[in-house]
């Protein structure tokens, strides 16, 4: 622990509460509202912000667009866009930029009206004129996002004997947490979920199959939403309203199809060790695992790749409700806000992983793990079964 830098900390967070804005609100409004509230949470103002991190939801040349929209002139502009993992990269880059003295207060924002715009994220897309050679080789197959992940699940089952019941544990645990989060419950209500209650493994495996072997309740929702995170230097953090949530380590990696490659191992196997190594902690010390739950299989594969258990042993490892917040002696609690499976998923969920990790380390979660000290936020951007980006961030409290 002595080697930890503790140069930068999350000092302000806000999650935009509505999952269905009914068209009256734009992504830019969500970003702005969230920025204001997160700065308020920190005890800072927009005038303090000198670093902007944006994944392009603000439009073309989003670093410029957002600076102008907010009316600020930051010294650092980072527009890394790696899908749902973008915000883990932004947090890592902000920590690096702050440590280097390039900025003192970094602002990350996200806004999306994916639900209101009726984006068919999971089952749509694929079909426009292909610009890139890789798209030109798979666009004709009709592979949906769900089926892309489903192919990872099938191979995982084939190689390791993983079952649908084991994968369902992930959906059951996240719903268990969502039912304790009023904003998640309100969200599921607004999105007209059929049966808003805690689920069982039977519920999950009896829900209809979207793409074999993944069932409906193993797939994340499509909602509106957004949020903001303020990251500040140690010096600024000392005077902020809330206790700092330190960024202790990070890792980044790419994954893509390789001839003869192993589809069950993701880029997290590279980003994880890098992040844990920098933080000087091991997976067994982690209290909170905020793992991008686009689908059940995403979490299972990522838990293995991050080193919580060995490759192939994830199925047995998650059995028996192990990932619930009220089982602290069994390892980390998973996605205590309810995750993408049961709280919100506006398309790029990475920012919520940071927000809920910070809530837990502040003691503010609706599924609070007593004395939570260390969290991991792992974002997966792109498609797990083909090309994807991994971003791992380790967070800790004083």
């Amino acid at each position: 622990m002595a080697t930890q830098a503790r140069a930068a900390a999350i000092v302000g967070i806000h999650e935009y509460p509505s999952r269905d804005v009914e068209g009256a609100v734009t992504p830019l409004h969500i970003k702005t509202e969230s920025a204001l509230r997160a700065l308020e949470d920190a005890g800072l103002t927009i005038a303090d912000v000198d670093g902007i991190y944006d994944a392009g939801d603000g439009g073309m040349m989003s670093g410029l667009a957002i600076s102008e929209y907010f009316g600020i002139k930051p010294n650092v502009i980072d527009t890394t866009m790696v899908g749902g993992s973008s915000y883990e990269y932004h947090a890592a880059h902000a920590a690096r930029d702050i440590a280097a003295g390039k900025c003192r207060v970094a602002l990350l924002t996200y806004g999306s009206t994916a639900h209101s715009n009726a984006f068919a994220i999971g089952v749509g897309g694929r079909g426009g004129p292909a610009a890139a050679p890789w798209d030109n080789m798979d666009g004709f197959t009709g592979m949906t996002l769900v089926s892309n992940y489903a192919m990872v699940a099938h191979r995982h089952m084939y190689e390791y004997g993983t079952t649908s019941e084991q994968l369902a544990e992930i959906s059951v645990a996240t719903r268990y947490h969502a039912m304790r989060n009023p904003e998640a419950v309100a969200g599921m209500t607004a999105l007209e979920f059929m049966d808003i209650r805690e689920t069982t493994i039977e519920d999950v495996v009896n829900s209809r199959i979207i793409a074999d072997p993944l069932h409906l309740l193993e797939c994340c929702m499509i909602s509106d939403g957004g949020g903001a995170v303020v990251i500040a230097s140690a010096e600024v953090a000392r005077d902020c309203k809330k206790a700092p949530v330190w960024l202790l380590g990070s890792g980044e990696a790419t994954g893509y199809p390789e001839n003869g490659g192993d589809i069950t191992t993701s880029a997290a196997a590279q980003s994880g060790p890098s992040a844990f190594g920098e933080a000087g902690v091991t997976p067994s010390e982690i209290d909170i695992a905020m793992i991008y739950d686009s689908f059940s299989i995403t979490v299972l594969a990522l838990l293995e790749d991050l080193g919580f258990c060995k490759k192939g042993e994830g199925g047995a490892w998650v059995e028996g409700g192990r990932l619930r917040f009220d089982r602290p002696n069994d390892g980390p609690a998973l996605n205590t806000d309810g995750g993408g499976l049961s709280s919100n998923h506006p398309g790029m969920r990475g920012i919520f992983l940071l927000i809920e990790a910070a809530r837990q380390l502040r003691g503010e979660s609706t599924s609070q793990v007593d004395g939570a000290k260390l969290a991991v936020a792992h974002g997966n951007g792109g498609m797990l079964g083909s090309r994807h980006c991994a971003g791992t961030v380790i967070l800790g409290k004083d």
Binding site: R126, A132, N136, M137, M143
Partner: protein, 141 residues
């Protein structure tokens, strides 16, 4: 004519995309082509203008026998695109060709994709012909 427009079509690749154009040109001849590096023997797929091992430009085109093994698959039961919506349930699969390339395609010639597909299954190319190219689908051997 209005009616004909409504028939949903498979989205087709752009035969002019420079890296993959020789592959799609090959499909017109019924050839399933892939690249191999003359310098380091690395198999390169998807097609591109250099070797992914040594970045060398000395790639040669070879023709696969078209046989391979299902590495993994999924049966798609819900799709938004009109063509694929008309095809559900259908199987998408990563197939390891015997020569080494891993290709993404659809499985065809299977009565019930819910039961007729498995990992490790042997398959062979089955061309779906179009005006400018053919699409390499795969059916059980």
């Amino acid at each position: 004519m209005a009616d004909e427009k409504k028939i949903p079509r498979r989205p087709l690749p752009n035969v002019k995309e420079p890296d993959t154009a020789p592959f799609w040109a090959g499909t017109r001849e019924g050839e399933l082509r892939y690249q191999r590096c003359d310098d380091c023997e690395t198999i390169v797929f998807y097609p591109r203008h250099h070797c992914t091992n040594c970045l060398g430009r000395n790639l040669s085109w070879h023709v696969s026998k078209g046989e391979g093994t299902v590495y993994t698959y999924s049966v798609i039961r819900q799709a938004y695109h009109p063509f694929f919506r008309s095809k559900v349930p259908f199987a998408v699969a990563w197939i390891d060709l015997d020569e080494g390339p891993r290709v993404l395609s659809n499985l065809t010639g299977i009565e019930d994709p819910s039961n007729g597909v498995s990992i490790g299954q042997r398959v062979t190319v089955d061309w779906e012909e179009h005006e400018e190219l053919s699409i390499p689908l795969f059916r059980p051997l």
